[in-house]
Symmetry: D3
Subunit: 249 residues, 6 copies
């Protein structure tokens, strides 16, 4: 039995609220258990300098935690004039994850800025950020799509993420903060809705793990991914993306 | 008639949700019209170095807007390695406002960190921050009070803030963003619940103003303060600070 | 009786020396009691990016204190990699004050950089900076005016500033540092030569103040403004600006 | 056939030169193909503040590339006042990898600083850094061990790293830069000498990958790990660590 | 004939005003031609961490130019978050020069902060800074001396500086800005009052120079040093350090 | 007898390895005794903004020490967000030295970036950097020269540097770190191969020095320069630039 009564292969209650704030082209509040993240997608009509004139777009992500998203207050990055290493790692992960399902040529010379601001952190903020940010991205892209901004619909797949780990010799799905603190192995899986991997990051922080461990953890993760994709589809009220098509209805 | 149908002396619909996040000692979501700010109060058991050993406490405030709290995405301070001048000005104002009603000796060697993070900005974010932060402060102080941390209850007065201004020759209360953008005179008033001033900041951005203008604006502001104080009292379920603190005599 | 023997409604001896340094288009040393500030106005033939192509000019101000302008040495901003919050607040105030009397369209696509460097600080550095910077600004604008750079003379009014406050229950004008340190209420007034307000910033640092207090303080301030405007006019050897005119002689 | 003539499961020629510089307690030049990294281990007799008084040690790593380690000159971090996100990610990985095989209690209140400075980069700099840094760490620890600094020898396992990836539909081991640039899937594996995983980081940058792909890549990686561990053992002239023992010979 | 009518071996009119500002322990305005620098010496009762507990003092210098000390406005360091390389070089030179004549053991555990702020720059700001800062240092040390802070008077020698250079094939003394801009060889000499060298920095910016050139330049410099030392002695009203310090035997 | 057995006028064993790394247009490892510096020259086809459109090129240098190039680990600049003052001084010196022998007009609108990264420091790192960087510069320029990039060969002279100093009353050439730490006078000389001076920087850190001392030190330095120039010529396999260049085909 887990500390919050869940079974080992059970994800926490999750909820995605769309149009959470009024200005962003896509804006989502994702809640996974007590983890709450505001994810917005903002469209900008230019690209970073390394892409200028190449006819391609870009997606970049920033991640941040409000100072009191955690049990003890965290000093803001600007007070130290340094981005936290963990923050940098996470925002790079979010950016890669979302770019991996995008046809950046089809997007054209636009940048989508993804902002994931954690207002309450209880484990799994990076995976919740990816899962929520994808929904905000779809909303922003669909806004452009309605304006007939694309020839080809630029999102190829759903992308979702979930964590797994080994705690007290048990392999468990979707770790809350307390479980995460005690995990010997901690793994974050980013996946398409078809169950293929986009990113696997597993760390044997306290003890190394073997191929068997890995396989059992991946089985668990793939169960979780299915559930999280369904939550995304329900929120978006769509069963599939209009992949590659021009007409959206 | 104002753009959102209000009368000149009418504040926007305002709502204060306490215990908005679970970790902070005080945590409030304040909504004033479409302006939404998360205000938390965090207790730290030490004081800044300039106060060490003096037996006094401190209150310090930080203010920030999420990048997409506004119509166009704002670059994060950390990306420029500089705190925005406006941000600096506002967080200093919030800190002064809250300290002005505190008995810092009674607080003892503690620091209260106030964090005001704007998730949606439609004008009046600094006054909403003060109004909301005060409620978060009361909740944090009352938590200490229950633990019998003080001999004397350290909050002396309610503190509330509201904006007034001159737009199209009309003097109006509680400006939304569009009104603020067109204001010739813009004024922020911080006040106690007894109607005394803690801070007056008035700027004739587009045109100077005279004593008459000032007096009419202050009349309006004092009306608004009364309404905002009531909203604080309703949220806190207390009519005065002494009643709300569990019988302090 | 005040600590330096002045009456409550008396400003300190003030002196403005024009052409204080040789390179700047406008360069002034202003002395108000023991407060001494070098104010320069520098003309640049371009505007910040947010104004490019709009046919308008800009005025921006920077304020700084030499490390030993004060009783104890102050660390330079660059040593901390951070602009002091107080500095930021003051330089934004100076910029707003000067812009408020300028016709930025008439100025055309130019930036005027105002630099206020305090070499000795004995209270009232921000108000002295505004008062001195205005004279430097006039000198710089008149240099352009002689070169027939404008169709319309771009300065609409004199702008001057003075402080007032409540110290030991007395309302006093033009506080020196020691008075300022003991003030319960501290107010800075920026005004035109016609007595209209450009900015009012009043803080009840130690105790709130009421409408009566405010009115008495504003009466005092308006007396002080008159005296300071006269000092500006004497320094500039002009009784009025050539408002809106093309010919300056 | 690969661009440098290697078979798919073949690592590049690798060489570890110990005592490469004279001051560091451990100092190694590791060359893997054309990738060259100087790895040093420096002992400091104190710990970061979060560990003070806990009787435990710490290992921290910094990674950097000389500006011209790459085909085009890379601006130094200090010129931008920002650590590169990729650098941050890599140095955190190196630190975690080395800490995972250390008994930090046995180390006692000491910090080992690992510095990995890439002088030439041809792919696999992060895995070469881990492999080389481990040898430098052993040399530094053995220096302490000779001075009888420990009751228990604090290194539990060898740690080694290698990359694998999918390029042109082929699964290959130890990617050089050109292969890495064309990889659809890119994976870095950190492992003990017993073949257990410490860290798996796999990214489907251009296309997602499935369980089969993953299994084949891990098989390849484990082959590579064996070869790299042997190179470490040869360089150190030791077949195994004196795990957990007090006497080293 | 030089552009300002001077002979090749003639220094510009120079003037040192003591007690220029009221707070610093030593405070000097030095004017050398149109170059004007405020030099202050501030006493702090502690030493940098690398000297703690060693019973020795320290002298450190900071140099800065007001933005409009020069013909075109110079951006403040804080706006770029970087100290200018030239600034860094100069302030290190000033610090070394002053330390070289100090008995830091005799000073005891105190730091003297030297601040040289250039208000107008017409060549030779670094040599004027050293010459002026020395006088401020003497005033600060004498203040301590009167309080009987030392067993041994801690200043061993006067220190003075002057520039020489080759312009249009002429060797000249004390270059103004225009001469400096056209110099093929530029040299700054820091010397004791006894004519011994503390620092020689000569640069053949446009053309190398030989031993003969060097010797002629040094002859010129030594003439200039004598004149500048006399100006220091006149300002301090002392012929030698021992007389001026109130009978030190 | 010196600590390493050298005579007073003897330089340390020195060796220059060209083509040390494979990407840079010029890449050299210079070893002078135990001091080891990697010097690279990188060509960029643009110039800094202050030179745009002037048809001239630029040479800029950056200097850095690996953290463990010294006996105790030095914190990286980026960890402090500040370039070390000593580093700044040295890299400016290297840049000036190399520019002084260049015909920047002949170079055309190109920037040569010189990077000097010290991997082991045992005194004389700045002079070794100049001596090594010159060889890297020649290699980079010759690469351009082979591509017929110039009408006039842009290097006018060899440039070499060496240190001299007074230690224990002895005048010595090419100080190692321990000698440098005990030097009363410390001097760095940058010279052409014809024995003319490009830069002289002499500091009487512990005691001033006179004309005689200076002359003896310069005699020593000129001996050292001759030897170091020969090492450059041997490495480059050219007796003079004109032979190496004018018969370049």
């Amino acid at each position: 039995m887990r500390i919050d009564g869940r079974k080992n292969d059970q994800v926490r209650a999750a909820k995605i609220t769309r149009n959470y704030t009024k200005y962003a082209e896509g804006s989502v509040l994702i809640e996974v258990g007590d983890t709450k993240v505001i994810c917005t997608a903002s469209i900008e009509d230019k690209v970073p300098s390394f892409l200028k004139g190449k006819g391609e777009g870009w997606i970049t992500a920033e991640y941040n935690m409000l100072p009191r998203a955690t049990a003890t207050r965290k000093i803001r990055d600007i007070a130290k004039l340094k981005v936290d290493g963990r923050t940098m790692e996470i925002q790079r992960l979010i950016g890669r994850a979302l770019r991996s399902v995008m046809d950046l040529k089809a997007l054209g010379e636009k940048t989508i800025w993804i902002d994931c601001d954690v207002i309450q952190a209880d484990g799994g903020t990076r995976t919740a950020s990816i899962t929520g940010a994808f929904v905000a991205l779809v909303d922003a892209i669909n806004k452009l799509h309605k304006e007939k901004a694309f020839d080809i619909y630029p999102i190829r797949n759903f992308v979702t993420a979930i964590s797994v780990g080994i705690v007290n010799e048990e392999k468990i799905l979707d770790l809350c903060y307390e479980e995460d603190s005690n995990a010997k192995v901690d793994m974050n899986i980013v996946s398409t809705d078809e169950g293929e991997f986009i990113e696997i990051q597993g760390t044997g922080e306290e003890a190394p793990f073997n191929r068997n461990d890995l396989n059992e953890l991946l089985d668990l993760a793939q169960k979780g991914i299915k559930q999280m994709v369904q939550i995304q589809k329900d929120a978006l009220k769509m069963d599939s993306l209009w992949i590659g098509t021009g007409g959206r209805d």
